[in-house]
């Protein structure tokens, strides 16, 4: 019996749209922008279709999506496995909450908390940036734990009770379209940054080889700090958003879930694109909610799904779909 081998070939339309001929026909333009367009349309229509309960889930999912995009960006493109997402959420949330208690309105407190928080977090991580590999990962994991203990021990910012009675979004449309809009802007902006900008190449160089970056007269710490800042902006926005979604700020913003779920989302979605971690989070958080009626058993189901992905399908969802979209597969005789 002849041995068979699977051969993969780029589709003609993929080859053509790689170059200037992309604009030769409507069909080829659609091939190029179709997936992105579909994403935009689905995300914009989604808030109109959901029940009040699932609207809440969507808002929370959105925060996890931003964290996952940040995690995927740092791990996949800059080579920094960062497990401190909860620090960003907490710092962003608390700054926004504190600003709000002194009378800063919501439309100012969120952007201020996003930028100030990101700056603060980046400064906090500055001493750890020379660390590499597992050492950086471990230190990053400790930061949010440390911050939460600090608040509990000293009782600042309302201590274990948090800060209640903050402003909430005026209506559900503002809250839903704010997070959806931010996700869309962020995912396309980061995708563009890492794929088409020269600084994206520098960051990918940091992942591949730090010594070569130093030998290229580039300040390694400065570029790592920029990457952490970008991720911190996403996380701090998420935190500030949650604060005003619930009208309350508390230590639960430093919950380890904010640090760990992005890892799972990246495994499920695939790490080689910016869209992978996003899709992973869009799947995992709602699944986790849907499994809620199983009580504590839901962790078991959830873990089984995770293990299956890690063991049998390391490629990830988006990478698989991308391959199917761009290439033929057929069996050929060896």
């Amino acid at each position: 019996m002849a041995e068979l081998r699977k051969e993969r070939l780029d589709r003609g339309v993929k080859v053509r749209t790689d170059s200037i001929y992309a604009v030769s026909s409507m069909k080829e333009i659609m091939f190029l922008i179709g997936p992105g367009l579909a994403l935009v349309i689905i995300l914009l229509v989604l808030p109109l279709l959901l029940s009040p309960y699932w609207e809440r889930v969507l808002a929370l999912t959105g925060v996890y999506v931003l964290l996952s995009i940040g995690f995927g960006f740092l791990a996949g493109y800059v080579g920094m496995v960062f497990l401190g997402g909860a620090l960003f959420v907490g710092v962003g949330g608390y700054i926004s909450g504190l600003l709000n208690t002194v009378g800063v309105p919501i439309y100012l407190s969120i952007p201020l908390a996003t930028l100030l928080g990101a700056l603060l977090c980046t400064l906090a991580f500055l001493p750890c940036l020379p660390l590499r590999g597992i050492y950086f990962t471990m230190v990053s994991f400790v930061y949010p734990l440390l911050a939460a203990r600090l608040i509990a021990a000293t009782g600042v910012f309302g201590g274990t009770d948090g800060l209640p009675g903050l402003d909430v979004f005026p209506n559900k449309w503002v809250s839903l379209y704010l997070i959806v809009g931010v996700i869309l802007v962020v995912v396309f902006a980061i995708s563009r940054l890492v794929n088409y900008k020269d600084i994206g190449l520098v960051l990918r160089g940091v992942k591949d080889n730090e010594q070569a970056i130093k030998a290229s007269a580039l300040n390694l710490t400065w570029y790592k700090a920029q990457a952490v800042f970008i991720t911190a902006v996403l996380g701090c926005f998420g935190g500030a958003y949650l604060t005003h979604l619930y009208g309350w700020v508390g230590m639960s913003l430093f919950a380890t879930e904010f640090s760990s779920l992005p890892v799972a989302a990246t495994v499920v979605g695939g790490i080689s694109t910016v869209f992978g971690p996003m899709m992973g989070a869009f799947l995992l958080v709602p699944i986790s909610e849907a499994l809620r009626e199983f009580g504590t058993l839901r962790i078991v189901f959830y873990s089984v799904i995770m293990v299956c992905f890690v063991a049998f399908w390391t490629e990830g969802l988006v990478d698989y779909l991308k391959r199917k979209y761009e290439q033929f597969e057929h069996w050929v005789k060896v």
Binding site: D198, K207, D208, A212, A215, A217
Partner: protein
């Protein structure tokens, strides 16, 4: 001080545990010269380049580059001043296309300064630089992933990363090692061309025959210490060098 001296190394030392990797090495280098650094395996050649370029911190000693004391500078700052280096173990970005490997150095502050705003499209400049060192222009080679390139191209890629910075001095850490004779034969004129374009070179080498086609002076290291310095003739006739490379008379156990 002498304007023509581009690099002055004074009593540079480094210990790893109890091992003196580099032991009070001093030398000076004039602008436009080619200096060879030779010595047996483990004699401290690569450590010396690491100490000069800041990749390893010195225990003691001073390095002056164009009269500036760069002894305690960070590696990227030293590269920014115009002292570039290649690595003996090549350090490409394997997941990027070859020409994209040259874009990070072109993105550096030094490259922007030296181009005076005329850098244009970095990809085009990167391919120009690759072509300069012997990558074929029209072939697919510059577009292949760096991780898939053969050794000879990787060595050239190392040089390209330096050239993108428009350096004044390049420390080449064993550019010939691991290459076939024909590849070396094509590298020698390339290095000569670099020298003629005004770049000062330090060549850390094992291959003396090829080295002395380019370098007119060399220093010899053994166990971290400088044991000789001079022209090829002087070095080959130096007793200490002979002893370091071929062993001393005591080693001839069969001698009567």
């Amino acid at each position: 001080m002498d304007k023509n001296i581009i690099l002055q190394v004074e009593k540079v030392s480094k210990k790893f545990g109890g091992v003196k990797a580099v032991d009070e090495v001093s030398f000076t280098l004039k602008k436009g010269d080619v200096l060879g650094v030779i010595g047996p395996n483990g004699s401290g050649k690569t450590t010396l380049s690491n100490l000069i370029t800041g990749f390893v911190e010195k225990d003691s000693g001073i390095v002056l580059f164009k009269g500036q004391n760069i002894s305690r500078w960070a590696p990227h700052k030293i590269a920014d001043a115009g002292l570039a280096r290649t690595f003996q173990v090549m350090r490409p970005y394997p997941t990027l296309a070859a020409y994209k490997n040259i874009i990070p150095p072109l993105y550096s502050p030094r490259a922007r300064r030296t181009a005076r705003g005329k850098l244009g499209d970095r990809s085009a400049v990167a391919i120009d630089i690759l072509e300069e060192v012997g990558f074929e222009r029209d072939a697919r080679v510059p577009y292949k992933l760096a991780g898939t390139l053969p050794l000879g191209y990787l060595k050239r890629l190392e040089l390209c990363r330096c050239l993108a910075l428009r350096p004044e001095l390049i420390i080449c850490d064993e550019v010939f090692s691991g290459l076939s004779m024909s590849e070396i034969a094509s590298m020698v004129p390339l290095m000569k061309r670099l020298q003629e374009s005004g770049i000062t070179l330090i060549m850390v080498e094992h291959r003396l025959r090829e080295l002395f086609k380019i370098a007119d002076r060399a220093i010899v290291l053994n166990f971290g210490a400088k044991i000789a310095e001079g022209s090829p003739g002087e070095i080959f006739n130096d007793d200490k060098v002979k002893k370091a490379y071929f062993g001393g008379e005591d080693d001839y156990v069969f001698a009567k």
